[in-house]
């Protein structure tokens, strides 16, 4: 087990450096200087532009910039946003909770719903239920999320008025009690979460179904049946646990795509999360902010992978207790 942990940690360190290096390269190799958007401001003369260059260290050699970058990264000091001077760290911190909340809830939902659908489909393999469920999941998988968001707003918000069109809080949010604030928040994020879940559910449920089907063919399942155990026990105690072992890892790996997707629906639903922040940063070529966001999101992904591995470690006895008994 120790072996496993050490190997994973070494991997994490390598990946961490790789992440910082890659994001650094991407920003500096691509053309388009950060103050391009300011270029059209006639009041700016070349002296002022030079000053900005100096402040943001944009005129020093690339490798020096990278070294400084690494130093600051470890302190989460991503510098100051070019567009409004606010510390990048603060900007991200302010917006991250919303994105994490939405994606966290999404992950939990797709975990449970995915398992439910996958297992019930496998157990009733070939039945109408299974075929409809599989087809339905396929359908969801192919729907473009931004289109679904637009349709959802059109139908549920505008037409039916059940959900708010945008934002994460109502106008008089400040006057709500804590409980009401929580409900208000949840009400606002229902549509975005629903859209997110629809897109991601298919992958998990298909995987769970396949795992379940493959486990049900294993010899220990036949043996359990041969012992006269009721089929409910055979399925939900013997088969299920084995089938679900790698699902935890899969969930960890879903985070990058969820984060990527959040750019789109945060823009549509006007949610102040890091997805939308990233989009705004990119539009204004805000280097420090972009770098900070890229790195943080990569770190989050790394973290969720590590957590997924740890989770796997805890549930699979083959890794937890290697070696034979004496």
């Amino acid at each position: 087990m120790l072996n496993f942990i050490v190997k994973r940690l070494a991997n994490v360190v390598v990946l961490f450096f790789g992440i910082t290096l890659l994001s650094f390269i991407v920003i500096h190799v691509a053309p388009g200087k950060p103050f391009l958007t300011m270029e059209f401001n006639p009041k700016m003369d070349s002296a002022a532009k030079k000053k900005i260059e100096q402040i943001y260290g944009l005129n020093r050699p690339v490798w020096v910039q990278y070294k400084e970058w690494i130093h600051r990264f470890s302190r989460f000091d991503f510098g100051y946003s070019i567009s409004d001077g606010v510390a990048v760290k603060d900007k991200i911190l302010q917006r991250i909770p919303v994105t994490l909340a939405i994606n966290g809830i999404t992950l939990v939902l797709i975990f449970f719903l995915g398992i439910l659908l996958g297992v019930s489909g496998a157990v009733r393999k070939g039945s109408w239920y299974d075929r409809c469920a599989t087809f339905g999941m396929f359908l969801f998988f192919s729907l473009p999320t931004f289109w679904v968001s637009l349709l959802a707003i059109q139908f549920f918000s505008v037409h039916l008025g059940w959900f708010p069109v945008s934002g994460i809080k109502s106008l008089d949010f400040e006057y709500f009690s804590f409980g009401k604030k929580a409900v208000d928040f949840l009400w606002h994020i229902t549509l975005p979460v629903a859209v997110s879940v629809i897109g991601a559910l298919a992958g998990i449920s298909r995987y769970v179904r396949e795992r379940m089907l493959s486990v049900l063919r294993e010899e220990y399942v036949t043996f359990a049946k041969a012992k006269g155990l009721p089929s409910r026990t055979v399925i939900y105690e013997h088969a299920l646990k084995n089938a679900l072992l790698p699902v935890v890892t899969l969930l960890g790996l879903s985070l990058p795509s969820l984060l990527g997707g959040s750019v789109i629906f945060e823009s549509i639903f006007s949610i102040p999360g890091i997805g939308r922040l990233f989009f705004e940063a990119v539009m204004s070529r805000d280097y420090p902010l972009i770098m900070g966001l890229l790195s943080i999101s990569a770190l989050l992904t790394l973290l969720s992978n590590v957590l997924a591995d740890v989770g796997y470690l805890m549930v699979d006895p083959r890794i937890r207790l290697a070696g034979k008994h004496e």
Binding site: N11, V14, L15, G18, I19, L22, S23, V26, I27, A30, P31, G32, F138, L139, F141, S142, L143, P144, F146, W147, L150, L151, I153, Q154, V158, H159, P256, S257, L259, G260, G261, V263, I264, S267, I268, F278, F279, V282, M283, R285, I290, L293, L294, S297, A298, T301, L302, N305
Partner: protein
């Protein structure tokens, strides 16, 4: 095996949809009744009619022709981007699998690093820092979707490497390059086909997302994504601008996904029966 492929219902259904869209793309000039960029303010925001099958947008342009021309963009992006990704992925994957040791380690770490970034974030970054254009988008999508292919090829090459026909080729003194190109890669392509089909669907989806956000294909060139960008502002007023392009995106993605699924079934079957 090909016979079985065409008997597979999923594959055929998917292929039908995909071909339908490709036909729309190719025959766009023939099928459309109006010039997709012809602005006519008097005809703005009209609903679907006999004259304008899908209605018109806020500038009075015929939506039907715009959607058909948008198919061109999507199909082109799908195939070119995936073509690029395939070339890179097959090349790197074969190298990693064939040479092993440090080459493999370095390349696989690189793949892992790339996979840590939310792909969409990366794409956004690069596309926005360069001038958004069709070519740039295709290249960028290609540059960020090769990882899965590389892994698959690598796994295949690793298992093929030890098989007898490769040992034979080595003993006959064939150069490494020849072995890789003529013997390993053709045999490794099987599992990749499913992945590339899925990648086409994914590439089309990414392009439409980028265009939707305004950093993909720029208007007036129609793309399903940028038509939907307009739809955002006419939400509630002109439902046709939202519905029709979306249906097309969905149909295309769905079609390719079906094809991929059918291919997967056929491949698995062939593997287990050894044919």
């Amino acid at each position: 095996m090909n016979k079985r492929l065409f008997r597979n219902k999923t594959f055929c259904a998917g292929a039908f949809l995909a071909v339908l869209v490709i036909v729309c793309a190719i025959a766009a000039p023939v099928l459309s009744r109006h010039d997709p960029s012809r602005i006519s303010v008097t005809e703005a925001l009209l609903g679907p009619s006999g004259n304008h099958f899908f209605g018109t947008d806020s500038l009075g342009r015929d939506l039907f022709s715009r959607v058909l021309y948008g198919a061109r963009v999507s199909v082109l992006v799908g195939f070119v981007a995936v073509g690029i990704a395939a070339v890179i992925g097959i090349f790197l994957g074969a190298l990693a699998g064939f040479f092993g040791s440090w080459v493999d380690e370095v390349l696989m770490r690189f793949v892992d690093i790339m996979l840590c970034f939310p792909t969409f974030f990366l794409i956004l970054t690069v596309v926005a820092l360069m001038e958004p254009s069709l070519l740039n988008i295709m290249v960028i999508i290609g540059l960020t979707s090769w990882m899965g292919i590389a892994r698959i090829i690598r796994a295949q090459v690793l298992s093929l490497k030890t098989q007898e026909f490769i040992l034979a080729a080595r003993m006959l003194g064939f150069s490494n390059l020849r072995i890789i190109m003529r013997h390993l890669i053709p045999n490794a392509l099987g599992p990749v086909i499913v992945h590339t089909t899925l990648s086409v669907a994914s590439a089309i989806f990414v392009e439409s997302s980028l265009s939707f956000l305004g950093i993909g294909v720029q208007p007036p060139t129609p793309s399903w994504g940028n038509i939907l960008m307009e739809a955002k502002s006419t939400l509630g007023v002109a439902w046709w601008i939202t519905v029709f392009p979306g249906i097309f995106i969905f149909t295309t993605v769905f079609g390719f996904n079906l094809m991929a699924d059918g291919l997967k079934d056929v491949m698995e079957h062939a593997e287990s029966t050894g044919r």
